[in-house]
């Protein structure tokens, strides 16, 4: 796709990008490393951890995907995509070198400045580690600005753990970082803990003093993780999570992700539990 410069102002028109590398993370999750064809677009695409972008394939459609790359690592974007619907299904059929459309970045982001000097507790489940990974790598690239880091992660099975190499080879070897990995159900080779993330997080027992907890995963996991964190005496202001909804425009107009006064695409996807408490009880 090429496009005339006169059209750049319309927010729904994507930029053309190329898939440079595809990593099969799990049987149904792939990570796509993507570079904009126009170097000035690549340079101009500044984003923060927690933001998303609209990824599209002409003829198939668009979907909002969180950017799993860290803004501290420049020159490319990464999207980790679980095969779930039409667009994500078609993306899984895509090959390296294929052109896609990308527009964004959209949404707010993790309030990283408010985390300076704090201990951080990341609790992720399944593909929910994708948005957290951007923040984790951002934090690790600015290691001296943060306190201790605990990463609690789980998936359905050992095969469903994403970013395995990065978790075990990179993150767990950084000073002051503890990594705890669990699976719902083990297999013959699995030697680690077995159990659901919320109960596992309770065993890990992170301290709320001077901490911020950031959680992302399937809705049912988030629901119980929030209960666990409340039990561990984390206040709603100390708990940050992300909401996910279908989005058609990403720019606060199509109405799909409207909850109360908020559009998740513009006002979210990152909310504190205190903010979620003020929304109508719809999710």
């Amino acid at each position: 796709m090429q496009q005339s410069s006169a059209l750049k102002k319309s927010p729904l028109i994507p930029e053309v990008a190329t898939i440079e590398k595809i990593t099969q993370e799990t049987p149904d999750v792939k990570t796509f490393r993507v570079v904009f064809d126009d170097p000035s677009v690549m340079d101009g695409f500044t984003y923060r951890s927690g933001q998303c972008a609209m990824v599209s394939l002409p003829g198939v459609g668009e979907a909002m995907i969180s950017i799993t790359a860290s803004p501290t690592r420049k020159g490319f974007l990464e999207f980790s995509v679980k095969k779930a619907g039409m667009l994500t299904g078609a993306l899984h059929e895509a090959e390296e070198g294929q052109k896609i459309g990308v527009r964004g970045p959209y949404g707010n982001s993790f309030p990283i400045e408010s985390m300076y000097g704090k201990d951080l507790v990341f609790i992720g489940g399944g593909i929910g580690l994708a948005p957290l990974r951007s923040l984790i790598n951002n934090v690790l690239d600015n290691r001296d600005k943060f306190g201790a880091v605990e990463i609690i992660y789980g998936a359905r099975s050992p095969q469903d753990l994403v970013f395995k190499e990065e978790i075990l080879e990179n993150w767990s070897k950084v000073k002051g970082v503890k990594v705890h990995v669990t699976v719902d159900k083990g297999d013959d080779d699995w030697k680690g803990p077995v159990g659901f993330v919320p109960a596992f997080a309770e065993q890990v027992n992170p301290s709320p003093a001077g901490s911020i907890a950031i959680t992302c995963g399937p809705p049912i996991m988030i629901k119980f993780v929030l209960q666990t964190l409340a039990k561990l005496k984390f206040t709603p202001e100390q708990i940050i999570t992300t909401l996910e909804m279908k989005m058609k425009c990403g720019v606060g107009k199509c109405g799909r992700c409207n909850i109360g006064e908020k559009y998740v695409c513009v006002d979210g996807p990152v909310f504190t539990l205190a903010q979620l408490g003020n929304m109508p009880n719809e999710f």
């Binding site: 028109i13 109405g255 409207n258 109360g260």
Partner: protein, 347 residues
């Protein structure tokens, strides 16, 4: 068409006899693409107009609101070739006039402006708005479902127009509301309005206001709605609402849309289109992996009412309804926002 030479040309306001109105329409049609209320299958619909004969100015409400001229029910954002093609754009530069819009509909456009020209400005919408002159027509004949006076969006128009007509019975008052409107008045060399015309306008406005039967009490409305998210009225509406989406299609301030890629038969070329969507449809609340956070009809009609009468005010600083009454007219079950609000307020 030659007119009798008036003594003073109008700067801000003129009065028009029947012939003058025909002159105005034909002059506009000579320079612009003109759209206005026309008769269509026994109903009134906004359509193309060449002369006064095409217009049906003595009308209550058009079937669809004027939003269709700023983003169409199927509106192409761009077209593409699947294998490296060219994205090209539609002609947004056409100079248009929307003639004879009622105050509710003009006020609805002002609300849509807040949505589409705020953050992440929609360039297509904005250019179409900029290239369209609005000739309003004050409402003399409110319909049975109208409740514009509750929102201050009618029956008389106070802003948002380039020209504004008021039917005074024996003649029209024509007022300019913008520089472009003033220029038109000047070019057309119309007769300056006499002071009595403004008195007559006040009179017809008062009569029209008195003819509006339905009311919504908007005092503190967002807050009252937010406190009544669990009100029994919503469960009742679940049994009423058929979730057909007619209310949102005819609504002048409903703007939610879906985005589709439409391929042609070669499967090589296509268009990415905006398609009008509706929060009362089941699919609207769907999320990945089979989830749906508004599975019940009660939750969906609630979303529609709350977005208009609560959330929109926080988001855009005004209530999101103009009281045109189309949703009531279009609803098979005659679900009526005024009745819903009255029930919740206990009035």
């Amino acid at each position: 068409m030659a007119l009798a030479e008036p003594l003073v040309y109008a700067a801000r306001a003129a009065t028009l006899g029947g012939k003058d109105l025909a002159f105005l329409v034909s002059q506009l049609a000579g320079k612009y693409q003109v759209f206005g209320p026309t008769r269509k299958d026994g109903e009134i619909a906004l359509g193309p107009v060449q002369s006064l004969e095409d217009l049906e100015l003595d009308y209550v409400t058009t079937l669809l609101p004027p939003k269709k001229y700023f983003y169409a029910p199927f509106d192409t954002i761009f077209s593409f070739h699947r294998e490296g093609g060219v994205i090209h754009e539609e002609n947004l530069e056409e100079r248009r006039v929307l003639f004879g819009l009622h105050p509710c509909d003009v006020n609805a456009l002002l609300l849509l402006d807040r949505v589409f020209t705020g953050q992440y400005e929609d360039d297509r919408y904005k250019r179409k708005r900029e290239n369209t002159l609005i000739v309003g027509l004050n409402c003399n004949k409110p319909g049975e479902n109208c409740f514009c006076s509750s929102f201050g969006t009618g029956p008389d128009l106070r802003r948002g127009y380039d020209l504004l007509l008021t039917n005074l019975g024996d003649r029209y008052l024509l007022e300019a509301g913008s520089g472009a409107g003033e220029e038109l008045l000047h070019e057309l060399r119309l007769k300056k309005a006499e002071p009595q015309a403004f008195l007559a306008k006040e009179n017809v406005t008062r009569l029209a206001k008195g003819a509006i039967k339905k009311k919504i009490n908007t005092d503190n409305l967002p807050k009252i709605l937010n406190q009544n998210f669990g009100h029994g009225k919503w469960a009742e509406l679940k049994e009423e609402c058929l979730a057909c989406g007619a209310c949102t299609i005819v609504c002048p301030t409903c703007y939610c849309f879906n985005v589709f890629d439409k391929l042609d038969l070669t499967l090589k070329h296509g268009e990415r289109q905006i398609v009008w969507d509706s929060c009362v449809l089941l699919e609207f609340g769907e999320v990945a992996m089979g989830g749906n956070f508004r599975r019940t009809r009660a939750a969906r009609i609630k979303q529609r009412i709350y977005h208009k009468l609560s959330y929109f005010e926080t988001q855009y600083g005004a209530l999101g309804c103009v009281g045109c009454g189309r949703c009531v007219t279009a609803c098979i079950k005659k679900i009526d926002p005024t009745a819903i609000v009255n029930a919740i307020r206990g009035e």
